[in-house]
């Protein structure tokens, strides 16, 4: 593999739900989960995928993983096309991509010790030698900052932060190259969140991992990632380096999202305009820009065609027809 070749390339990925026929009546309406997403992941980088509930970020993550089958588009892993395979073959071809669930407490069997849960992952992935399995389990517990004695403990004995580490250890025993982290800090207190993020950052550097960091929390992404992609209704509306996005957000949605993060400034509520409506409200937009119904800058051309991602400055791209005159209006 040449160093310039991205580890993972996604081209115009589309995942649709519904559309199937019912016994009687009309077919189910089609829901566009992922609606034409192109992305690349470079080896060793952390890419943040940010968006609000229902924007399709988890669907995109699961499509990349092969748990949900893509409707169209291509996925290339280390140069190999791994899309349009039957479900089982897709997972086998993508075994170097692993997924950490949002709530590892719910993902662990309460009747199984931590050691058994970690061992199961290795057995499923055909590590046969028991001593070898045990060694890898111990190594990974240490890597996530837990003592190997945790092997004999049960999920209910662990705190939220420790459960996150176990969830992480469980996929790290499989030697993944790409780790998809789904809201890894959701539900954690700030003081615990900081330590979990520290472990994640440390592991990425030590094990040379590549992260796709799915989150609705922009401040977490800002600290953990080099690049960030903003999703809205199944599409990427803006992508760029963390510095570019946070210093100069271009798409109206990115601007509103950044402005909505509560800051430690008393009285800042008055100066921040709120977006009207919510993503899921109103009729599904099929033509034009999906953000149009809530956009303060929308004009008639927004309804005509879907704006493509256009490059602004190097890797900073945004999909909006008014990129060049928003600043003069705003």
């Amino acid at each position: 593999m040449t160093p310039t070749r991205p580890l993972l390339e996604i081209e115009d990925l589309v995942t649709l739900f519904g559309g199937d026929k019912r016994l009687l009546g009309k077919p189910r309406p089609v829901v566009r989960g992922v609606d034409g997403v192109s992305l690349t992941l470079k080896a060793g980088e952390a890419l943040g995928l940010v968006g609000e509930s229902g924007c399709g970020k988890t669907t995109l993550a699961k499509t990349i993983l092969g748990l949900i089958r893509e409707t169209s588009g291509a996925v290339r892993l280390e140069g190999q096309v791994v899309s349009h395979l039957p479900p089982r073959a897709a997972r086998i071809a993508r075994h170097t991509i692993q997924y950490v669930h949002q709530d590892p407490g719910a993902a662990l069997d309460p009747w199984w010790s931590i050691g058994q849960a970690l061992d199961e992952a290795l057995r499923i992935h055909r590590a046969t030698d028991q001593g070898e399995r045990r060694r890898r389990v111990d190594d990974m517990l240490r890597a996530v900052g837990l003592d190997p004695t945790f092997r004999t403990r049960y999920p209910h004995e662990l705190s939220g932060g420790q459960l996150r580490r176990v969830g992480l250890a469980r996929i790290l025993v499989l030697n993944p190259r790409i780790v998809i982290l789904d809201e890894p800090t959701a539900g954690l207190d700030l003081s615990v969140q900081a330590t979990v993020l520290g472990v994640l950052d440390d592991l990425r550097k030590r094990l040379g991992l590549t992260y796709l960091f799915v989150s609705h929390d922009l401040s977490v992404v800002k600290r953990m990632c080099e690049r960030v992609a903003i999703m809205y209704l199944g599409r990427i509306v803006e992508i760029g380096s963390v510095e570019q996005i946070f210093a100069k957000p271009q798409h109206p949605y990115t601007r509103a999202l950044l402005a909505a993060i509560p800051r430690l400034e008393p009285g800042s509520l008055h100066d921040t305009p709120a977006l009207p409506g919510e993503p899921s409200s109103g009729p599904v937009v099929t033509t034009g820009c999906g953000f149009r119904p809530r956009c303060p800058f929308a004009v008639s051309t927004c309804a005509e065609a879907r704006p493509p991602l256009v490059s602004l400055n190097g890797e900073h791209m945004a999909a909006c027809v008014r990129l060049h005159d928003i600043d003069t209006v705003a």
């Binding site: 609000e52 509930s53 705190s159 939220g160 932060g161 207190d189 700030l190 003081s191 615990v192 969140q193 900081a194 330590t195 993020l197 520290g198 950052d201 609705h216 922009l218 401040s219 977490v220 800002k222 600290r223 509103a256 999202l257 402005a259 909505a260 993060i261 509560p262 800051r263 430690l264 400034e265 008393p266 009285g267 800042s268 509520l269 008055h270 921040t272 709120a274 977006l275 919510e278 899921s280 409200s281």
Partner: protein, 324 residues
């Protein structure tokens, strides 16, 4: 300092709550103090396990069966809520004098009944306010299509809209105070912003007094006038939000603020974990994690000392400069 001429609407004084468990007696709240001034929003902020939910339940009179208040007072308009019977609490206080906004708008409604049936059920039994009053309230919280909202079912509303419905329901009885339990935690940031604006607007236009429980200091900064910081069942610091943010006094407040992404580029955490109330440290419960801890911190939780402009702190570091 001159005494404040305005008396607090809600005044929690030295409130302790204990719960009997299989492993012994757990002191969940340890002499908590809190004052909500009329027409203001008071934030209660702290991490999981700091006792903010127990405090809220004690105020509403809905402590779990094994829990009981062992000392202190909860004064609402001069009446001690701890001395009232369950029947009076039910008929006059909850949903009457105190309105409540729950955390999760998705779980607060029964999915099989119309929204109107559920909202009117409570308000009719308490105050006799009818459909028209509720619709007027729904308009004041900026719910779209307020006229037809009561005839719809919960699933026809988004999370943000449901939270608006619940805010309107909490206001239906014209309560003296509203208690809000992290009402924006389940919402996305852009929706959270809308709801915070609605609440701030109600405080300013209607003089609403609200106790706002949250774990997010950013939300406190935006919404609240005053704040109480809690740790492991104790109040550590309180005062006007602007002062606490600009010059936090207690080491815990400082460390908690340092964890906020707005402060400090480093990934700061607080070493250790919040102790279980069954094994709460003696004295100031923060001392095992505190970088400034001294031997006397173990002996007793220091009394409240007042600093410039009503900023109170309970910490030995400030015990010496007590203002008389």
């Amino acid at each position: 300092m001159t005494p404040n001429p305005v008396t607090p609407l809600l005044d929690v004084r030295n409130l302790s709550v204990s719960a009997g468990t299989d492993e012994g007696e757990a002191k969940i709240l340890d002499r908590v103090n809190l004052a909500l001034m009329p027409g203001s929003i008071h934030g209660v902020v702290g991490e999981s396990g700091c006792g903010k939910s127990t405090l809220m339940r004690a105020i509403l009179g809905i402590l779990p069966q094994r829990g009981r208040a062992t000392e202190g007072h909860i004064l609402l308009g001069g009446r001690d809520l701890l001395k009232l019977s369950a029947a009076v609490l039910q008929s006059e206080v909850r949903g009457g004098q105190i309105g409540f906004i729950p955390q999760d708008p998705y779980q607060a409604f029964n999915p099989v009944f119309r929204v109107g049936t559920q909202l009117l059920e409570t308000s009719r039994s308490k105050t006799g306010s009818g459909r028209a009053d509720i619709i007027a309230l729904l308009k004041s919280v900026q719910l779209p299509d307020a006229e037809s909202a009561l005839d719809r079912y919960p699933h026809q509303f988004s999370g943000g809209q449901r939270q608006r419905l619940l805010i309107a329901a909490a206001l239906a009885s014209s309560p003296a105070i509203v208690v809000a339990d992290e009402p924006t935690t389940a919402l996305d940031v852009t929706t959270q912003l809308q709801i915070l604006k609605v609440l701030r607007g109600l405080a300013e236009e209607r003089g609403l007094s609200m106790l706002f429980v949250t774990h997010d200091f950013g939300v406190v900064a935006q919404l609240c006038d005053t704040v109480t910081v809690m740790y492991a069942g104790q109040t550590v610091e309180s005062g006007p939000v602007a002062h606490v943010l600009a010059a936090p006094l207690h080491p815990y407040t400082r460390m908690l603020l340092a964890c906020h992404p707005d402060r400090g580029a480093e990934l700061a955490g607080i070493p250790g974990a919040v102790p279980s109330p069954l094994r709460a440290p003696s004295g100031c419960r923060f001392h095992p994690r505190c970088p400034s801890a001294r031997s006397e911190c173990r002996a007793a939780h220091p009394p409240r000392t007042e600093h410039a402009d009503k900023q109170n702190v309970q910490c030995v570091l400030y015990a010496a400069d007590v203002m008389a």
